[in-house]
């Protein structure tokens, strides 16, 4: 997820200072996440440099001055463009299971289908945990964003299990040749 666009989006409803941005991101946008201040301020500096946000310095008597950030017209336009453009879906295919399967296939005396069985057990344990958490989410009063992300996690694990099944079909076919 892009912090740059997240910050632009959080500023769309009005000016905020760095601390508010961090809090809004962690509490309202991406539950249970932790942004460090460094990330927030370097991103804000880059956005300022690119003319997407401006800031006012608010003087404080007891504490250091704080900067209040605001979207520029160009920043608002970039946010709108981002929201209306399909996201680039990350297909991360670097996968440990794949590596194990391919190696087990080359190794003498080793059956990749044993690797599959072990991976499936592991995946089911993870799915067990995540789907139970998903099933309890409503009762626990979890906010909508947590439910949506749990749903995504469940579906990804289901897809992975389906992939393991397909691998097994192909490996069985190879074996019977």
């Amino acid at each position: 997820m892009s912090i740059k666009h997240a910050l632009l989006g959080l500023l769309a409803n009005g000016p905020l200072h760095g601390y508010d941005l961090k809090a809004a991101y962690e509490q309202e946008l991406v539950p249970e996440s932790h942004l460090n201040y460094g990330q927030v301020y370097t991103t804000l500096e880059r956005l300022s440099r690119d003319g997407l946000v401006t800031h006012d310095v608010v003087r404080q008597s007891e504490r250091p001055d704080k900067k209040v950030y605001e979207l520029t017209r160009e920043g608002r336009q970039q946010l709108r463009d981002w929201l209306t453009t399909p996201s680039r879906l990350d297909l991360d295919l670097r996968n440990e299971t794949y590596l194990k399967l391919m190696l087990a296939r080359r190794l003498k005396g080793s059956d990749p289908r044993e690797v599959l069985a072990i991976e499936r057990r592991g995946c089911f344990e993870r799915l067990h945990e995540v789907s139970q958490t998903r099933a309890r989410a409503e009762k626990e009063g979890a906010p909508l964003h947590a439910i949506l992300l749990l749903e995504l996690a469940v579906l990804q694990l289901e897809a992975f299990l389906k992939w393991l099944e397909r691998c097994e079909e192909f490996l069985n076919r190879e074996k019977s040749k």
Binding site: E32, A117, E129, S131, T133, A142, L149, K162
Partner: protein, 248 residues
């Protein structure tokens, strides 16, 4: 302390069907034993023997060879009539297509196993309402199945299966005809019956997400058990949520 017998136990269970000149071995020597108060999922490709196993456990069908015990009762030792009676009292079934009678209300459908068993109408009705309470449908007792959603109909079917307080609840693709939201509700309900009533539930499903809600997962292939996995107790809700790598 008296050791509690398993909820059910099958030993060297085999079942062959003859279709014309072809003999199909649906199950080939399955042995399993199940603790009470667990949700057990049976998975496997179609034709792997899942439903056959469920039917044999529930005494709907007799094995070609092998044993089935439910609690302390050996089903093979019972004649047909006594087996039917035992099944009616100790085994509740839930099917994919609910199997409710259209002309009877939810409460009447639920009371049916008790009425067949000779209980008075007043007592059967009272217990039916208590069973409907367990599935959160006591307020819909007067409704006909046609006036209920699919998920509600399946919950009535669950109430009917529970009304005799059976040792075993057997479910064959219980959410196969439901949309995912109602399916999730039915699964949560089954999970709660296990957790809060210590009901033993055995469920055949092809849905990994639902199987993953079980305590134990049994995978069949070509009539034999190829996987028997105990799923660990779930960690606290917050902990799991905190662990998910959501972003950055």
């Amino acid at each position: 302390m008296k050791i509690e017998p398993p909820a059910f136990e099958v030993a060297a269970l085999s079942k062959a069907f003859v279709a014309g000149s072809v003999r199909v071995e649906a199950l080939r020597g399955v042995s399993l034993s199940a603790e009470r108060g667990q949700l057990i999922a049976i998975m496997g490709p179609s034709g792997s023997g899942k439903s056959t196993l469920l039917h044999l456990i529930g005494g709907l069908d007799a094995p070609t060879s092998g044993q089935v015990r439910i609690g302390e009762t050996d089903l093979g030792a019972l004649d047909d009539d006594r087996r039917a009676l035992f099944r009616r009292r100790q085994v509740g079934f839930i099917f994919q297509d609910f199997n409710l009678l259209d002309v009877l209300s939810a409460a009447e459908n639920t009371a049916l196993p008790l009425l067949i068993d000779g209980l008075s109408e007043a007592e059967a009705h009272r217990r039916a309402l208590a069973a409907l309470e367990l599935v959160d449908l006591a307020h819909r007792g007067d409704h006909l199945p046609g006036q209920l959603s699919g998920g509600e109909q399946q919950r009535v079917a669950i109430a009917r299966a529970l009304v005799t307080k059976p040792l075993l609840l057997l479910a064959d693709e219980p959410t196969g005809n439901l949309d995912s939201t109602s399916g999730d509700q039915v699964l949560t309900l089954l999970r709660n019956l296990v957790d809060h009533q210590r009901q033993t539930v055995v469920m055949v499903t092809h849905d990994a997400r639902q199987a993953a809600l079980a305590d134990r997962l049994i995978r069949l292939r070509d009539g034999v058990v190829v996987e028997d996995q105990v799923l660990p107790r779930c960690r606290p809700f917050r902990e799991v949520l905190n662990d998910l790598d959501i972003v950055t």
